[in-house]
């Protein structure tokens, strides 16, 4: 062994070199981590300690045309909990269940919400009762990750009156979360489920704010506020609609529990939707914060299906209300005027291969078109239909929009059914399986013809104005009008006079109201085995239409029943309108 000073010094030099080299390397590694990669690590340490707690926002308020509130928000409380893992959430829920009432379904739901968004607090109650909140506030220290905060909840002051119109909101589903158009949504957020709430979701959607809490490694909240500035939720712009809430309410009142059916009211010039009502209705407020399964089952198993929106999705044989379409087509083709009589007077029936009956078996005699409209004479329209011919009748129906949907800004509208051409029958029944005499039934609004109340209302906006139909609009945009038929002003006037006659003298005579002239047409749809459905589609005032209204009353038996309700509704609307605009009507 050599311990000669020189060799010791040489080794010392090597050792010093190695030491300096090792420490330089170590220092370099720290330089890299702390200076070069600092930002990345700061981010990671921040995401370690900070948890974003969403501040629930309010959905946009929905107003009617006069500024009355259709949908608003009430203060509420949500209870949620921050957990690092599913297991810790489970045990937290278990200890919570000793203090407050959480059933196993709610626990399972909270766990599902957690799994869908593990970094957000898992919502336990969207709408906690005051009692639950006060119990939890008192014992907050026992539940470190617990977050109780105000959370606005949807409220519809006139819930049952507007159920078919606004729909309701609910928690976004897992299926929806997977869809690209909901990519900005997070589990636990509210989303429109039906009606306007769905249609205008993008506008009405609650804008979430956020605040940050500081948590420790076990996800316990260490500091609740002041960690970072809060971002308050932004209020969405309100939704202003064409709806007349008073009319909507009145329809609900009038239908009550005894009647069922649907009402659609439009402004004839603009297509602005004044009312959309479907009966029986239901309480949409009971859907907020999660509908109870018992109420939902009750609605689903209800004999008359309240969840079914009859105004938009109910398709009914239009019956006599459709005769105006036949009349318009005949006049357009130059086959008839209001004074034209048919070859055969009405004797209660018409023979075409077999006997086609008139609804009044006593017969209407030899009458003009105007009278035929007023009396709703079937025999007259059989003959007019034959004059037009099946091919032209089918094409004309298409042109008048009976095979279309209206394009209303509401979800769930069903397309009305109208055979586009003879091929429809060939396809459906086989080339020899049908008889061209179907033209007789079609011309009185029967056979393969099913119209939504909304589509009928749209057609009557054309009759009420200049032959152009307005696209129904719940939320006002530029009115869209489409020319349906080409009649001279005189011809149109004569049609309108005939329609006015229906209410003053014809089938709807009982519906006459002092001081107002109403134009319209009744209809009685046969829907065996049920009793007849009653239709009325019309407008008022007859000389200067301000409202077009289509109404169907299921099992209303005769069109005049519907006409009475329609008249009441129109009167209600026009009176309100008159007093407001101070227009004198004499």
């Amino acid at each position: 062994m050599s311990y000669h000073p020189n060799s010791v010094l040489r080794r010392a030099r090597v050792a010093r070199g190695l030491l300096v080299a090792a420490f330089t390397l170590l220092g370099g590694a720290f330089f890299r981590a702390q200076v070069l990669q600092n930002e990345e690590f700061v981010l990671r340490s921040e995401s370690n300690r900070l948890r974003e707690v969403p501040l629930p926002g309010a959905r946009g308020i929905i107003y009617d045309r006069h500024g009355a509130i259709i949908a608003e928000n009430l203060p509420g409380y949500s209870v949620s909990i921050l957990s690092p893992t599913t297991d810790s959430l489970r045990s937290a829920l278990k200890s919570l269940s000793r203090v407050i009432d959480i059933d196993s379904a709610q626990q399972a739901l909270a766990i599902r919400r957690f799994r869908a968004a593990p970094t957000r607090p898992a919502v336990i109650f969207n709408d906690a009762s005051f009692q639950v909140v006060s119990v939890l506030e008192e014992r907050r220290a026992e539940f470190p990750g617990l977050i109780i905060q105000s959370s606005p909840k949807r409220y519809y002051p006139d819930g049952p009156a507007v159920s078919a119109l606004v729909g309701y909101t609910g928690e976004i589903s897992e299926k929806q979360l997977a869809m690209p158009r909901f990519k900005e949504y997070k589990a636990g957020q509210q989303v429109g489920r039906e009606g306007l709430e769905v249609q205008y979701e993008a506008q009405l959607r609650a804008r979430e704010g956020s605040r940050f809490v500081e948590v420790d490694a076990r996800n316990r909240v260490v500091r609740d506020n002041g960690v970072r500035p809060e971002v308050q939720p932004e209020a969405p712009p309100p939704l202003r609609t064409n709806i007349d809430l008073d009319l909507q309410r009145y329809a609900h009142e009038y239908f009550g529990d005894s009647l069922r059916g649907a009402v659609v009211a439009l402004e004839p010039q603009t297509g602005g939707v004044l009312a959309i009502y479907s009966a029986p209705s239901y309480d949409i407020n009971r859907f907020i914060g999660g509908v109870s399964s018992s109420y939902y089952r009750e609605l689903q198993e209800h004999k008359y299906k309240p969840l079914f929106n009859r105004a938009l999705s109910g398709r009914y044989p239009p019956a006599s209300t459709w005769k105006l379409a036949t009349a318009v087509m005949g006049m357009e083709l130059g086959l008839v005027t209001m004074d034209t009589h048919m070859e055969q007077p009405c004797t209660g029936g018409y023979y075409y291969g077999r006997v086609f009956k008139c609804w009044d078996k006593r017969g209407h005699g030899d009458i003009s078109l105007a009278q035929a409209i007023a009396k709703s004479c079937d025999v007259y329209f059989y003959q007019l239909g034959l004059k037009i011919g099946l091919t032209k009748l089918l094409a004309g129906g298409v042109r008048l929009g009976f095979g279309d949907s209206t394009g209303i800004d509401m979800p769930g509208e069903k397309t009305s059914i109208w055979p586009a051409s003879r091929a429809y029958f060939d396809r459906r029944y086989g080339p020899r399986g049908w008889n061209p005499s179907v033209v007789l039934s079609l011309s009185i609004g029967q056979a393969n013809n099913s119209q939504t109340p909304l589509n009928m209302a749209r057609f009557y906006t054309a009759l009420a104005t200049d032959g152009s139909a307005a696209t129904p609009q719940v939320v006002a945009r530029t009115p869209e009008r489409k020319k349906l038929f080409d009649l001279s002003p005189d011809q149109l006037k004569s049609v309108q006079l005939a329609l006015a006659d229906v209410v003053s003298r014809g089938t709807a005579a009982g519906a006459q109201i002092q001081g107002l002239t109403i134009a319209g047409k009744t209809g009685t749809a046969q829907v065996p085995p049920e009793k007849d459905y009653a239709w009325f589609v019309g407008y008022a005032p007859a000389d200067k239409p301000k409202i077009v209204l289509a109404i169907i009353i299921e099992e209303g038996e005769h069109g005049s029943t519907a006409a009475k309700v329609a008249t009441k509704l129109m009167e209600r609307y026009l009176k309100a309108k008159l007093t407001m605009t101070a227009v004198t009507n004499d």
């Binding site: 062994m1 050599s2 311990y3 060799s7 010791v8 010094l9 080794r11 010392a12 090597v14 050792a15 010093r16 030491l19 300096v20 090792a22 420490f23 170590l26 220092g27 590694a29 720290f30 330089f31 981590a33 702390q34 200076v35 990669q37 600092n38 990345e40 690590f41 700061v42 990671r44 340490s45 921040e46 370690n48 300690r49 500081e214 948590v215 420790d216 490694a217 076990r218 316990r220 260490v222 500091r223």
Partner: protein, 421 residues
Amino acid sequence: MARQGILRRQSIDLPLLITALLLTLFGIAMVFSAGQTDMPDKGLERLWQRQAAFFGVALVATWVINRGTVRLIEWSAWPLYLLSIVLLLATLLFGSGAGTAQSMKGWLTIGGRRLGQPSELAKLATTLMLARMLATQRESIRSLVDLWKPLMVVGVPWLLVMAQPDLGTGIVFIGICFAMLFWAGVPWQLLVMLASPGVSLILAFSTGVWGAWFLILVALVLWYRPFLVEGVVLVVANVVMGVVAPLLWDKLKPYQQQRFLVFLDPNIDAMGSGYNVIQSQVAIGSGGLFGKGFTLGSQKRLNFLPEQQTDFIFSVVGEELGFVGVVVALFLFLALFLRATRVATRAADAFPGLVAFGLMSAWFVHVIVNVGMTLNLMPVTGIPLPFFSNGGSFLLVSWLAVGILLRISAEGRGQADALGL
């Protein structure tokens, strides 16, 4: 140097003492900071007081040692060595785990009271014993066979430590052994050959790298020309190691395998065995240039950083004091080690020189492995950071080492820059 009884003139290596003092005060401050969390833990909060108390005891012990002589230290090598072997054996029989290393029997426990970690004493005693052995070996070493005695001295305690099993301390023993053999003048080629089977074992996981290493080794053997038998044995040993490595791998316990895999990529088990290292890196990296402020590290305060008072105390330095604090700490360590190397260089004799260098190298391995671990440059082996990590016996032993170094320095050649007291 004059020796006149109690009143003899003392000279103290002030730079060494001051560096060690600064490191210890820095360390106690960090232990204090480690106790400052947002979920107050009384035990953790009071640790720094215990550490400070131990420091007081350590200073007294250091003073006592410094009153002694190198001769006395040399004389104590044998008894200390035997004592530590006995204690290590006793630990294996009656030991218990502690803290994060519950499965490791590192603590000597009597009647449920943990008395200390004999492996800390064993490091010191083995250093002394090895120095004694190497200092008395006068003929120069040309062959691995000549190394059997020193290797025995290290091998026995090393095996006992590995049996605990305490891989970290085992690494320290290996470090001490190689450093002291180097200081004793064993040719570097021999050291490489000595290390080669171990290197083969590690490199065997990649056949290509192992092959390259093997070629280098063969070249070295041909150049250095050891005894034929030795050369053959060496080559065969490397081949065998290369072959058995995968078999040994299968023999490892899953947690041991996991440690190795996590070292390669902590993210494979970010919430499990990789968690500590990842959080440590995040703590250090987020500290930036100037840190988050003393006691204010969020990773530590909120318990994301594990073992912040022991294994990962350097991460607290990084997080709270930033790169600047890290550089200061590393600089203090480097200064201490350079000073200790200087003490070794100027030692009056072979034995004190070897002791000084051995003590320094033990610290060095601790620092490199522990600090390296916080940035995942080294696998997590759970060895503490000298002067920083909370732990009474380790601080005591570290200061015993300081005392020995001071004594050696005092008796060394030339004290031009030391103050006479």
